[in-house]
Symmetry: C2
Subunit: 341 residues, 2 copies
């Protein structure tokens, strides 16, 4: 099969890879219908995360079940399924509490590589959620978004306790931040302040439900949020970047007793204890337990209540994956969808 390999910083190629096979009786093999490039894929692409040689890439996927292991029960051949970046058993105490991304048996799908024609999905029954029927083709981008960026934005809004009567700040205008705006809107937030300095992303934020745009960053961004909130700060803040500046901007933009949901993969973050202590905020985040939200998100998408697929502003065939990475790296695209023929 064809699949994306990162050979070194900036060197993405689509190469022939061995077809995946059932390795564990709980595995399934899916034929990938669509996959995409994640903001977090750009870290190794840029050489920021050291890579130990050629590596398969991708952890976002929708597809059709082609083969299942002998212990697979609920996942059936021919189903259209959505999975997420951690395979999970969905039965351990951590999963049952809704934290499937920390499942005691979790396996990172990124290490297997979803940017490919076929994908082996471990713990298939716990990981995959099927659509009620074969979805219309125009729903595929939204279902693919549910696999990570929508599920992650949803978790961030949940962790930030966005809801009716709340003012929500969203730090980060990538796909996750933009879908955090959509999630906050769906959850009934009264006011949604998107922090963005890019016209195309501001436009999408407004389409997804943002009520205010703040272009300032850091301390100036915090001051602007305070101006908009009677000097109190937001009730809820979504942090979707993962840098020291964005994390402190999120904490300081939030009122005491408010909630910060942080989902930007942490890179240079180091939180000083004293400002955190005196901020009085709630802090919760990490790798999103997307599996918890998939049934609800799939329902909203097939009922056409939400349209998260709009975040894909570039669609390319899998073979042109390298251009998809470059376009996101150079900020020419918010998010690249890779189509399989």
């Amino acid at each position: 099969m064809r699949g994306v390999i990162l050979n070194g910083p900036g060197d993405v190629r689509v190469e022939d890879r061995p077809d995946p096979t059932i390795e564990q009786p709980t595995d399934a093999i899916i034929r990938v219908v669509a996959t995409c490039v994640c903001g977090s894929d750009l870290w190794p692409f840029r050489g920021v995360d050291a890579s130990g040689g050629p590596a398969p890439m991708g952890h976002e996927y929708v597809g059709i079940v082609e083969e299942v292991g002998s212990a697979v029960e609920s996942t059936r051949l021919g189903q259209f399924v959505v999975g997420s970046f951690f395979a999970s058993d969905n039965t351990c105490p951590i999963c049952r509490a809704g934290y499937q991304s920390h499942c005691v048996h979790r396996e990172p799908v990124g290490a297997i590589g979803a940017q490919a024609e076929y994908l082996r999905v471990p713990l298939a029954d716990g990981t995959l959620v099927a659509t009620p029927e074969m979805p219309d083709e125009d729903l595929v981008p939204s279902l693919l978004a549910a696999s990570d960026v929508l599920g992650t934005g949803w978790f961030a809004a949940d962790a930030a306790q966005a809801g009716p009567g709340k003012t929500v700040v969203v730090v980060g205008d990538g796909a996750v931040g933009l879908l955090g705006v959509l999630a906050a809107r769906h959850k009934g937030a009264e006011r949604i302040i998107a922090m963005s300095r890019h016209a195309d992303r501001q436009k999408l934020a407004l389409e997804f439900g943002a009520t205010d745009i703040v272009t300032e960053r850091g301390d100036e961004g915090v001051a602007r949020v305070k101006e908009l909130t009677d000097s109190l700060g937001a009730h809820s803040t979504i942090e979707a970047v993962g840098t020291q500046e964005s994390m402190m901007q999120a904490i300081h933009s939030t009122r005491a007793g408010g909630h910060v949901g942080f989902v930007g993969v942490s890179h240079d973050v180091r939180i000083e204890g004293t400002p955190l202590f005196f901020s009085g905020v709630h802090l919760h985040g990490g790798p999103a337990p997307v599996r918890r939200f998939l049934p609800e998100l799939i329902g909203l998408i097939v009922d056409r209540k939400i349209d998260p697929g709009k975040v894909f502003d570039l669609r390319l065939p899998l073979d042109e994956a390298a251009e998809g990475y470059r376009a996101m790296d150079e900020r020419r695209a918010v998010k690249t969808l890779l189509e399989l023929s």
Copy 2:
């Protein structure tokens, strides 16, 4: 009047100070019935927090209302009252959300100095809570505990979401940690693991409801907690120390999706983003909004449902405050109550 002054590291004296007077129409003057020495008073006593010259000390107090300003309405002369370390208006949006320690008009009582015969309490109506009637003398230590250490332990247990079916870890065996054990027990926690290596404090933790004692610290302490919790970690962890080691011990002792309530005043804490991100815990804490809990706590105390006054293992007249500080500094006492004649 007589009052405690810290003249420099280790130099606590009881000196003559001017009697307080009404400065704002919302002030009240109380005659202090009992006050005490806080673990946080030891930081400036030890010279860790730089002091800018002689400073009045103390922020825990119960007393009788002696005088009120012209704008004071609900606080009445002769009432027995309990207040906390931040005066708060109890009407601003932050107070109404239950975060009175972050009130937009808050004033630190510690800067006024509660270790004295009389105390000016700002924002009296918002700050002070009266007992239903004049309490029996034996209840005074418990009511004084409500002023800070009980209220802080209670907030920590609340922030950690201690409750039925939960395993709660308590890091720190000072008065706040011990009363965190009591709070977790009252909230119905199933299992309470107190981390302590001092026999007298272990004994009190068990009296307050701890089910297990762990003497190991740091990584070894975390490993021991994991052994006791099927390798998962606790649902809820109270952090009541405020050091880097104790904070990381608390985070790593907690399962993904669990809650850490941190109330140890942060000193050298610096939380690395990556382990926090991948921990999946909820983090909430800071200066406790004791005012939120005072009505409930006073009710439990006067109904003799809880006996937090047990944390006072040394009682001295105000004039012997210096010995009270030394006894706590040298760990000869858990907490010193200062009596006024």
